[in-house]
Symmetry: C2
Subunit: 101 residues, 2 copies
């Protein structure tokens, strides 16, 4: 499976971030055609104290073809534009592929 991983660093205003994230951004992202699963993880720390990261979101697609098609959709563009606007300076995007371990 193909994953898009969004790692968010701590926002200045966590309440405002959460409100936008869960009420605007996540619903926009959920509309992307072909999106199989979306998992949001709140980062609570590290073995040595606070993490530089605040939140992680994984967006999962069945295969490369579905993913490529999804990325060209209007819904993906809307989600990307929104992410850039509300979290452009704190978000890191990674692409990945699942492995059997």
């Amino acid at each position: 499976m193909i994953k898009v991983i969004a790692l968010y660093k701590h926002p200045e205003n966590k309440e405002k971030f959460d409100e936008h994230y869960f009420n605007i951004h996540a619903p926009l992202t959920a509309k992307i055609p072909g999106l199989k699963e979306m998992n949001v993880t709140r980062i609570t720390g590290t073995p040595f104290g606070e993490s530089e990261y605040y939140m992680m979101c994984e967006m999962i697609y069945e295969d490369k073809e579905t993913f490529k098609k999804a990325m060209k959709s209007e819904e993906a563009k809307a989600s990307g534009k929104d992410a850039q606007a509300f979290a452009g300076s704190i978000v890191t995007l990674l692409f990945g592929e699942s492995e059997d371990a």
Copy 2:
């Protein structure tokens, strides 16, 4: 659910890393009592090119109690010791909690 997320930066020798990871480290980690799921993702890039990360592993526990118990086990200590030995300088550990988005 409780997640432990291991983010590995690019190893010097990827072949050696993969061999140790899949043949030694993952099987050791899989033995941790209470571990519900282990997902390994190979990071393939970012929207802007190569990522600083090479691999991500998520270890999932049902709840805090199971997680705390697991962390005290001999198996968790063995997995942690192994990670430190083969990837101590390139691994970042994060703790997290699943959110409903």
